[in-house]
Symmetry: C2
Subunit: 423 residues, 2 copies
């Protein structure tokens, strides 16, 4: 048993921060939290006490929608909306992942960059290339970090070099399922690119695999108006974009992450609630690609679970703290444009999305309650407040770090109890 002492903050619920000033967390040999305490119980038995002093100790970040092969596109070519952007900038880059050496370089960098920004687990899109996708899983495994690894299926309306067949996709998934069985923090996830790029055969094959394996599903939903119109054209019998996935068994039949949902309302919103489909809010991406902003407060009011994603390279930055900022800011624009009908998101709400809500896809992850994996960051916010003249509570210090901090202020990173040094 190791005990860590620090200013501990986490969100067991989204409504507030649980704060333990100079408190204690006890972590067992399996990396599982045994207790969190304001003062250590008398005669508490432990092997080691690690004192982080006045620093902040918070749960690590979970990035629930991110495209690993787009690392090199990050921060450039922000001058188009979704569909031309994919064709002009993204697909040419993704074709390069047929080359395993290239994939190895980019994917190991990707995991290292996630680590740098304090993200210890992620739901990741790879490409259609099975060997490269194995490399991505290996990169996470060697780092000791957690991931849901998505071998992408896409077989229409896209360059032939970026297509796989349903059979190729299914065979690739089979090899992933086998090799990932020996990687405790890594699991495969069924990953249709999105309805416009998947034939009914591909979607059927994926739905069948979800049913047989109970693996989770991730894809894109109602991101952009041109995309939505295209889906209606391609799947005229579906009552909404979400229903198009649902009819193939890919919308909540197993745990499902749907990124964006900028235009989800009415029947689609109802179906998300009913099917317990999780919305992945990607506000940086939705700004950069001029997609629009998902009505997150409404989702929460209706009972839809919401998590956060960086969505690089639609998103321009891997830091989930940056994503949290935008989630709050975009909700403020909706607050003012709705004449205050939809209260804006609070810091504890977006923190909860990036920690406990997202973490639920990896088991008991993202909180510091007993039974949770110890995924944690030690934040040294020294220097963020001028000369420490401004007295600050732990919550204010966390807020300041979220808005002003960066990787320089993340001093230690833990995943499942293990300290992770730079991958």
């Amino acid at each position: 048993m190791i005990v860590y002492q620090a200013n501990i903050l986490f969100t067991s619920s989204s409504t507030h921060f649980d704060v333990y000033e100079r408190g204690y967390i006890a972590v067992d040999e399996c990396g599982i939290i045994q207790g969190v305490y304001h003062t250590l119980p008398e005669d508490f038995a432990y092997d080691q006490l690690v004192d982080f002093g006045d620093k902040l100790l918070i749960p690590a970040m979970n990035d629930m929608h991110v495209h690993a092969p787009q690392l090199g596109n990050m921060g450039i070519a922000m001058d188009m909306q979704l569909l031309p952007w994919l064709n002009t900038y993204i697909f040419p880059e993704e074709t390069k992942f047929a080359d395993e050496a290239y994939a190895e370089t980019i994917y190991y960098s990707f995991v290292s960059e996630l680590w740098r920004h304090g993200t210890m687990r992620a739901a990741v899109f790879a490409t259609v290339h099975t060997p490269a996708t194995h490399i991505l899983a290996r990169a996470f495994n060697e780092a000791g970090m957690g991931a849901l690894i998505g071998l992408v299926g896409m077989d229409r309306h896209t360059p032939a070099t970026l297509c796989n067949t349903p059979a190729e996709w299914a065979a690739g998934m089979q090899t992933l399922i086998e090799s990932l069985a020996s990687m405790p923090l890594i699991k495969p996830i069924i990953t249709p690119r999105f309805i416009p790029l998947c034939t009914p055969e591909m979607l059927r094959s994926m739905g069948e695999m979800a049913k047989q394996t109970l693996l989770p599903v991730q894809s894109h939903l109602s991101e952009n108006q041109q995309e939505i119109a295209w889906v209606h054209e391609l799947e005229p019998e579906a009552t909404c974009y979400g229903d198009a996935y649902h009819r193939y068994g890919l919308f909540g039949q197993t745990p499902t992450l749907m990124a964006h949902c900028c235009y989800t309302e009415g029947e689609e919103l109802h179906l998300m609630c009913e099917q317990n489909v999780c919305a992945v809010h990607c506000p940086t991406s939705n700004c950069n690609l001029a997609s629009g902003i998902a009505p997150i407060r409404k989702f929460l009011q209706e009972g839809v679970q919401v998590v956060l994603g960086s969505d690089i390279a639609g998103g321009h930055h891997l830091s989930m703290f940056r994503v949290m900022q935008y989630a709050i800011q975009m909700s403020k624009l909706q607050y003012v444009s709705s004449n205050s009908q939809y209260p804006f998101l609070t810091l504890s709400e977006v923190f909860y999305m990036a920690t406990k809500a997202g973490g639920a896809f990896f088991g008991r992850v993202g909180s510091f309650e007993p039974g949770y994996a110890f995924d944690a960051l030690v934040i040294d916010d020294h220097g963020l407040s001028p000369h420490h003249l401004i007295a600050s509570s732990p919550i204010e210090r966390l807020e300041r770090f979220v808005y002003l901090g960066d990787d320089r202020h993340i001093q230690h990173r833990f995943c499942q109890g293990q300290e992770i040094t730079q991958p």
Copy 2:
């Protein structure tokens, strides 16, 4: 004459970048640019050639709306809209600037932080305190950086500890005008807090000083709907918020910066055009305070000059590169919500705002054309692209730096030809 060699980018107009790959800039002994060249003219006479290799050389940033005393509020307390936010968080902090020792600490930190983020000149709000405002000017002068220094006038609807009288304000300005005469890069600027906090006597006194001294003016305009309603109540004869300033001689009678303009339209927009009043777009602040987003594309179409401001602590970050990102992103949300009526802002447009457009308030500043002051940043973007596998043009490298870079990538900073080391 010193010649600098690098990948040179600047915006002589907002429509495009002027790019000189491995080009040359010649700077004379007064810090004035004599020429920019793709290849040095034959027999060109110079004293020294400084080769920055493959790095980027760009104009330094101009922050055209920023509250120096709010440095300690930066990144915290983002849970209110403008008026309660001022009363709850900002005014209590600003009262502390009656204490010169406190002012000295914060203001020297402020200048150092501006420097860190590559901002070499700024239009700054101080507080109502004359001695502290002198300290702020001194901090800029000692650093060798440029500023318009605003001794704030405010004399109603605010705690007595934060009020000055029109006579106190005018006397303070007189001392500033005198002492700033010996600081070549620093000038005073007439600074009413905003209409609701200034009596007609204060505004009259300010307008008269503007008329006599021809000093520029800065204030806040149409930021928030409650504020606008309050102005209509207080100044019922004014046809719009802008007209309330105009009637006192504070709206374009001398060069004028008006921050925010989130709700400027119709008559107010017309008056801004007619009076050549410059809008200071502060998108980070407008998000954080749930103010709304100014219709910048429309301003540009109508011929209003637009510059950029960080507006800390409404804005959460001093980096003007961060502000540029938000300016583009917010215009994209307007693009999509207006059904593509208002094309979104391009990188060259927002770069122009933060360099040449803002720089015009300091003389010939913000471009690399001959006759301009050499205010410049050397950007070392090494590491921003994974393993340099992604071939990038200088413009792509600049874009990537704007979205992903930070102070670590700014290697040298020049103001008026002098290299500025950390203040």
